[in-house]
């Protein structure tokens, strides 16, 4: 499934949105950029909430907008989730969830209320009024309501931006579970690198009203000075399966030979997590495998690339045994003292890992 979008729109003080792109929609696509770069406007054009003269929007082989033809939003079957809560205040949780479901032709329904409420953990909330829900619960109901129209496409406009850190952490697993299990392509607007690293399979970088590039998440994370490294510096995302929890609450992650111990905090029962996020500054490099050390996670790696120094810091890109990219941040002094060069085999010591989903 691909999305083609062609639009030129001038608005505000000299701001121009100029997009002419076509990209695959499999999985989760993040529209990533700073506030005011035009990403939300782009999302609204895709949804059909803004009708821009002369724009073309094609979803698969269906033209949603071309020339004077325009399919209104209520006929596009797009699930929308907004930044702030958008539940209909005069309806109960149950009626909100069923509002779209009952308006979806029976033949097109693929997702049904019991599955969706179970997946999002909102079974106990169905009879509540909207003002009796917390922020996180509201977003989960919004997600469920959008899923229950069995959408062809889900558009999420910064769905976590209005939530506090704790609630974000609570919702994130539901979001990634939804992305993995619903099979619906998702486009998500975000300006937060950690959300993108956690959820996205593909990133469209947007700045000054243009899509600069569309890259797979791994490509985007592999290049030096990726825009995704804004606030906490370089980071890598490792994928793998999660083992059973031991008595001390630690679980093994990844295939034999590249296994890591991760602590089992805030994990959903029975979930096979698939992503670990490791900040480059939490990774040290050692020429031999130290044993008398508190750091538990040592991985044999091969240096693939050493980036130029930036602020007296050097990012060293390493390959793990299962060919995943792991970034380490070291000083130029360490590079010269240890004699680090591309191709060198050594050990990466990982101080802390964050289980993403």
């Amino acid at each position: 499934m691909t999305l083609q979008i062609e639009v030129r729109l001038r608005y505000g003080k000299g701001f121009e949105l100029r997009v002419d792109n076509e990209f695959s929609l499999q999985g989760v696509t993040a529209l990533f950029g700073r506030s005011g770069c035009g990403k939300t406007t782009l999302l609204r054009i895709i949804a059909g909430l803004e009708r821009v003269q002369g724009a073309t929007v094609r979803f698969g082989d269906r033209y949603w907008q071309q020339g004077s033809d325009f399919v209104p939003l209520h006929k596009r079957r797009i699930g929308l989730v907004f930044q702030e809560h958008s539940l209909l205040p005069h309806l109960s949780v149950r009626s909100n969830l069923l509002y779209g479901y009952t308006r979806t032709p029976e033949a097109l329904r693929r997702l049904h209320p019991p599955d969706v409420t179970g997946m999002l953990g909102i079974n106990d909330l169905l009879e509540r009024r909207i003002d009796q829900l917390s922020g996180g619960q509201r977003q989960r109901v919004s997600l469920g309501r959008a899923l229950l129209i069995s959408p062809q496409l889900l558009l999420l406009d910064e769905p976590l931006a209005a939530l506090d850190t704790q609630t974000k952490r609570e919702i994130m697993p539901f979001l990634s579970r939804m992305a993995a299990q619903s099979g619906v392509p998702i486009i998500m607007v975000s300006h937060a690198p950690d959300e993108v690293q956690r959820l996205a399979d593909r990133v469209a970088f947007i700045s000054e009203g243009q899509i600069q590039s569309v890259e797979a998440l791994h490509e985007a994370l592999a290049r030096p000075n990726s825009p995704l490294f804004d606030d906490v510096g370089a980071a890598s995302v490792l994928e793998g399966n999660l083992g059973e929890a031991g008595e001390d609450g630690m679980r093994l992650f990844g295939p034999p030979g590249t296994q890591l111990w991760v602590s089992d905090m805030q994990q959903m029962p029975g979930q096979q997590a698939s992503r670990l996020r490791i900040l480059a500054r939490d990774v040290s490099l050692s020429l031999d495998d130290p044993h008398r050390i508190s750091i538990q996670n040592h991985l044999p790696v091969t240096i693939e690339r050493i980036d130029p120094a930036h602020n007296n810091r050097i990012v060293v890109a390493c390959r793990t045994a299962d060919q995943q990219l792991l970034l380490a941040e070291v000083t130029p002094r360490a590079v010269s003292q240890l004699g680090l060069v591309a191709g060198l085999e050594l050990f990466a010591l990982i101080k802390s890992v964050a289980l993403l989903a």
Partner: protein, 228 residues
Amino acid sequence: MFELGPAEWQAIEVTFKLCLYTTIILLFLATPIAWWLSKGRSHTRTVVQAIVALPLVLPPTVLGFYLLVILGPRGLVGETLENMGLHHLAFSFEGILIGSVLYSMPFAVQPLTEAFNNLGRRPVEVASSLGAGVVDRFCTVILPLTRGGFLVAATLTFAHTLGEFGVILMLGGSIPGETKVLSVLIYDHAEGMNYAGAHSLSLMLLIFAFLTLFVVYSINRRFEVAKL
């Protein structure tokens, strides 16, 4: 004091009919206008907004005079109607109904515009994404979420039409059973030195007006909608 004769009952009937019809027509007419006004800011919108609000500041006799000219036998509308074999609209119930609709327009449009502004675009966008078409969205989202605004608009329109005098006198005159409404009858009574008759009707209108405003402000408090 409150003995009502046939003339009084006739005036009450005409007045009630006029208020009811005006309210119903205005709710249908004002809703799309208010919706359009709430959808943005442009010069055209400002012009329309000003025209709608004119009866608030214009002497009713001015409005009545122009309507008399337009709807009368020599006016644009009246003459066209005569040529089609119909009656012109001056000094008729239909004529004062048109006058009332125009005269009370701001009292329907303003609370509705305010209610639609408070509603914002989000609930409507959400409903469209969930597959609801235009009529569906209006009935299941807009109407329930702005019903306070509709109640205020309806009550104010009804009450304001009740208090109409200048437009009706200019346009409709004082024809019993056709255009003689309560306010005109009170005027007639006072002119004819029938102070008791004028008093009883005046007191009725006073109490009714107070009750109406009491209801409006209660609704306002309950729904937190527009205040006038």
